[in-house]
Each structure stands twice: as structure tokens, then as C-alpha cells.
Symmetry: C2
Subunit: 349 residues, 2 copies
């Protein structure tokens, strides 16, 4: 399987470059962001999305900002860079990785004594962060693959694949690693309303890799579980706090259904997604524009004037999680946060 390169830094162009995920599966289009504003709007519009990919976008975003700031005096330059870093960090509130990526690079440039050193250090750090993400996905894939033997039907939600990371994927990274290790995996991809990342992106990725995939409406997952057609559920995560998993709206419903039917429910996420300092109540759940639900492919699907509730994420308590599949191994709750923190520190997070 050849990995998709979802997001990268193009040094010739001085641009953060990514696949426009709003256009898939119809069009494969690369976006080159040459300004921080363009990057932020790309993040808000979900041209680039998925927690680990947002981390990399945050990291390269700092590189981009460092090239764009015209201040020649070092301390003024750094003040301006902090302002830009805060703007990038604030582009979306729920996924922790965006902050993790920004902060990783900002810590690396703190020690630089000149503008040019800061610019060079930021690129070095961002590349390190991106390759650490890619490596983490491969490692969690290997750990997760040990949970999948023989013929297995995996249900997943949204897209926690190569397109959500710099490559390979989290939930789909586990699937890929299992297939490489010889398992026969069939994936049920929940379409994931309202923006259909499961139907559009997960299906696209898996078809490209020749892994059998069937798209289903989100609401039929529980029924397939009842019919005995689902062996395990694997989802990604946007943030894992001390008590809860934040992930795409619908994740909680799958966790409840999996528990009801006695089906294992796994969350695949690198350490960069863990947020040791926070509990669920401290995190803002992004509510997005009404029109994402109220129209589809140009057609109006909700009468004008009718209210819509459009949470981008929900929150699943750790008690409903069978285990977390991470780059340092498969971890059953209750999570040993000391171990997580030590490993995060070792990775410079």
C-alpha cells in the first residue's frame, strides 16, 4: 500500500500544501497555502481535517507565518510570531492536535537568537513533528493489528485514515497494518453526516488500497451490529481528556450500540491526541453552520426558518472504550496518565 501524502511543506513555493478534502471523491485537487489567512480558512472549511493532520497543519502553519512576518528585529519578530501562532491555534477549538503542533514548533523556535535561525528551526521542528506523526501511526497500526485476526468486519466512523493524518491513518492505520499482516478485513464506513467524510474519504482511501469497504448510513450501524455483521468498532479521536474521548458526532452513538451488543469499541490515536490536563467539561464542542445540515449537493433539505443543531463532535466516556490503540501500545481504561505524560515528554510534546 502506498500512503497518501495528505499535507506537506513545499519549500520552493513557501507554501503549506494539502489535498482539498472537500472536493473528494469527485476531484483530486492540491491546495497551496501561501498565507496564514488562507491556511486558517482551509482549516475552517475542512479542506484539511482530521486531528493528526491538523497537528501537522499547525506545525507547518508556524513555518509559513515565520516566512511571512517581515520584522527584521528578533524580539519583534517573535512577538508577531506568537500572535500568528495564537490565530492558527484558534482556527478550530475541539481537536487538541492543532495546538500540539503549533506549540511543538513554537517551543523549538524559542531558543533561536535570530530571525533566520527561528525560520530554520521552525521548519526543522515541523518536519520532525510530521515525521513523528507518520511514525506514530505506523506504530499504533502495528499494535492495533494484533487485535485483528482472520476474517474481521470493522465498523468505523468519519475518516480516521491517511487523509486525517500526514499518512497511513489511525483507525484505518490499524486496518492497513492488519491487512499487511494477513488479516481479511471488511470495513463498514459510516457515511458520517453532515459532511460525509466516511462516504467520501474513508471509502476513497480504502478503495485506492484495495481493502473491501461498504458505505452505510450512520443510523444503520446498530442494526448491522444486531445482525451480527460487525466484529469490532475502531474510531479515531480529536482529543482524549482524562474522562472522555472527543470525536466526530456519532461516535458516542456507536459506543453505546457496541456496548449494548457486546462488541469491542476501540479508539485509535497517537499520544499527540491525549490531553492530560483537561476533563471533558473544559473542552468547547464546535457547533458548525446550519447550512451543512440544511443543504446537500445544492439541494435545500431543511425548510427555511427551521432550527438545526449541528455539533461537529461528541464526547464518549472512557467507560465505553474497550481500549485505546496508541503508538506506545494498547491501553485499557483506566488510563495510566503518568505513563502517557512521560511518553509525551520523551516525544517533545
Amino acid at each position: 500500500m502506498k500512503a497518501v501524502e495528505t499535507i506537506s511543506w513545499d519549500d520552493d513555493e513557501g507554501a503549506v500544501t494539502f489535498i482539498d478534502q472537500t472536493q473528494l471523491p469527485g476531484h483530486y485537487r492540491l491546495v497551496r497555502c501561501r498565507s496564514v489567512d488562507r491556511l486558517i480558512s482551509g482549516i475552517r472549511r475542512l479542506e484539511v481535517r482530521g486531528a493528526p493532520a491538523l497537528g501537522v497543519a499547525g506545525a507547518y502553519g508556524v513555518v509559513l507565518a515565520s516566512r511571512k512576518i517581515k520584522e527584521k528585529e528578533h524580539s519583534r519578530f517573535m512577538r508577531a510570531l506568537w500572535v500568528e501562532a495564537a490565530r492558527i491555534r484558534g482556527a478550530r477549538p475541539t481537536a487538541v492536535n492543532l495546538s500540539t503542533g503549533v506549540d511543538f514548533v513554537m517551543r523549538a523556535v524559542e531558543d533561536a537568537h535570530s530571525v533566520s535561525a527561528a525560520r530554520a528551526d521552525s521548519l526543522h521542528a515541523a518536519r520532525l513533528f510530521a515525521s513523528a506523526d507518520a511514525r506514530a501511526c505506523r506504530e499504533l497500526g502495528t499494535h492495533g493489528a494484533s487485535l485483528i485476526r482472520g476474517r474481521t468486519a470493522v465498523l468505523t466512523h468519519c475518516n480516521a485514515g491517511a487523509l486525517a493524518c500526514s499518512e497511513w491513518g489511525t483507525a484505518l492505520g490499524v486496518v492497513r497494518s492488519a491487512v499487511e499482516a494477513g488479516a481479511e478485513v471488511q470495513v463498514f464506513a459510516c457515511e458520517t453526516r453532515p459532511l460525509l467524510q466516511g462516504a467520501r474519504l474513508t471509502a476513497w482511501e480504502l478503495q485506492r488500497d484495495g481493502i473491501p469497504v461498504t458505505v452505510i448510513p450512520d443510523s444503520s450501524a446498530a442494526f448491522l451490529m444486531k445482525r451480527g455483521e460487525v466484529d469490532i468498532v475502531i474510531v479515531g479521536a480529536d482529543r482524549i481528556t482524562t474522562d472522555a474521548v472527543f470525536n466526530k458526532i456519532g461516535t458516542y452513538m456507536h459506543a453505546v450500540s457496541a456496548r449494548f451488543h457486546g462488541i469491542p469499541f476501540y479508539v485509535a490515536a497517537p499520544l499527540s491526541t491525549f490531553d492530560p490536563g483537561r476533563s471533558g467539561g473544559d473542552v468547547t464542542i464546535e457547533e458548525r453552520d446550519r447550512k451543512e445540515v440544511a443543504s446537500c449537493g445544492g439541494a435545500v433539505t431543511v425548510p427555511e426558518g427551521v432550527d438545526v443543531r449541528n455539533y461537529a463532535f461528541d464526547l464518549t466516556p472512557h467507560e465505553l472504550v474497550t481500549a485505546f490503540i496508541t503508538d506506545i501500545g494498547v491501553i485499557e481504561p483506566p488510563v495510566d496518565w503518568e505513563k502517557i505524560e512521560t511518553a509525551r515528554r520523551a516525544g517533545g510534546m
Copy 2:
């Protein structure tokens, strides 16, 4: 509240007339079916849908067939009518009401001794069936309203409203009756993928009646339950067998979530929806065209060549149902089938 007349017989035109529900909420268009073929295609395309409305469509369908058959000899006429009745009955497999409506009218014409008497009797019977449906919805509404007091948030799925019946509605009939009785009801309408009957139809009906309604993606229902925002769930039904409720795909998921959160889960359905002779395993669950899931408003949402599973219905065991709201009262499981059968016979079913 002024009821919508979803389906009727236009005697001047010799046509079954209904609102084209595929065009709502954008366009309000009446369809006049002057042939059985046109009616069957309208049923298959879901121009008219909803279990009770399908019953009325079946009843008027026999009237239409009786006008179209040119045979003058009575026994030949009746043979041709039986053929047409079987075709109408077979238009969709899951909702029992379609058969109930057809059979009700066929039984009424069996005793006629001439073609003209059969034609007259069919119209008489069909009108009786339609008005019985309307009355049943009003009655079940009144029974159900007793379950809703003060400020109540009701979650519903698909459209079990006036548009699913000849008027008033089942699940939404209960809401309407409760509002008339003074309750303050807020409805969460699950959008209901893939064809969005909740977003398009339930929202349209309730907005028209001035009842507050909020549309949500199907996958967020469990999360709203967890947040404590849902007081009760009320859905309709396409067929109630001795062990299970067949209703729009997603119903089972809501039943599981409601049970998990300790929220009452009601099924509102007239006696015509009960099928005393059958258990869940005997009923065909309609699987519909891939393209309902794979495209939306003209946009392709699933890559070409990727499989789709598109069940139109699922099956919820009676154990997950708090009670059935029927025209003869609120019935907790286990269902007393003798009582149901006696009442159905009294209604000529």
C-alpha cells in the same frame, strides 16, 4: 391546526391524488395518478410514503383499478381486479398497511354481483378505510397526549406525521394532540438518511403548525439524550409483528440509545399496522437503490464502485418498546394479541 390532506380520491378526474413528498420542502406539488402503473411508480419512488398513507393508497388503488379495467363480464372483471390488487400490494414489501388497505377494499367488493356494483362498493370501502385511518390517528393522538405533560422534548425519526397518513399523523399526531391539550412540546426531528424525510417532511409539517422543531443529524440523537435534552422518543411503525417493530432504518438505534439512557421509547401506530400473523423473521426488509446513499442533491458522495448497504427499515424487538400508542389505548408489551385481533376484526380488518 389544520390538517394536511396527504392523499385522496378525486372522483371528477378518476384519479388518486397526493402531495409529491419527494419535492418537499422546496415545492408543493399534487400528483394525480390516473393509472395503476403510475400509482405503483409513485409508491416505489416514495412520492407517497408512510405506513397509514400507503394503506389509503392501496385502498384507492383498487378503486382506480376498478375504473380502468374494461372487462364487462363480472367474473372476468373480478379476476382482473385481483391481478391489479396483487400488483399494488407488491409495490413495497415492508409496510403491512399497503396490503391492509388493498385487502379491506377487496373484501368489500367480493360480495358485489355486478361490475358497476363492485366499482361503487370499492369507492365506498376505500373512503371508509381512509376516514377510519384519520379517526384512528386522532384517537391514538388523544391516548398518547396523556403521556406528555408540561414542557416536553420529543425526539422522533423519519416522518410519522400527517404526510405519512391521510391526515394528523401517528407520532406527530400524538405531538399535535398534546399541543392541543396544552403541553409545550419541542420536537427534535432526526433528519433520517438517506432520503431525509425528517428534515424535509417532519420539519415542514411542524413549522406549518407552529410547533417548535429542531432538525438534527441522526447520529447526534444519542448525544442529545446523554446531555439530558430528550424527554421521550416517539416513532411510527410500518409493521408490528408479534415480536418486532419494523420502521425506518435508524429506529432500532434510537431504541437502544433510549434504553441506555433510561428514556421512554414509544411506538405510535393504528391497529392497521399490527400484523398478528407474523414474526419478524417472516418479513422482507426492503433494500433500496445504492444511489439514494451514494448521491445527494446531484453531488456524488460515494466513490464509484464502492459498495453501499441501503436498508429502508430495521427491526426493533418489543422488549425495547416502553409502550405502543394505538387507537384503542396505550399498550405495554407483552402485547395482548387477542385483544388486538378482536379490535381489528371489529374494524373490518
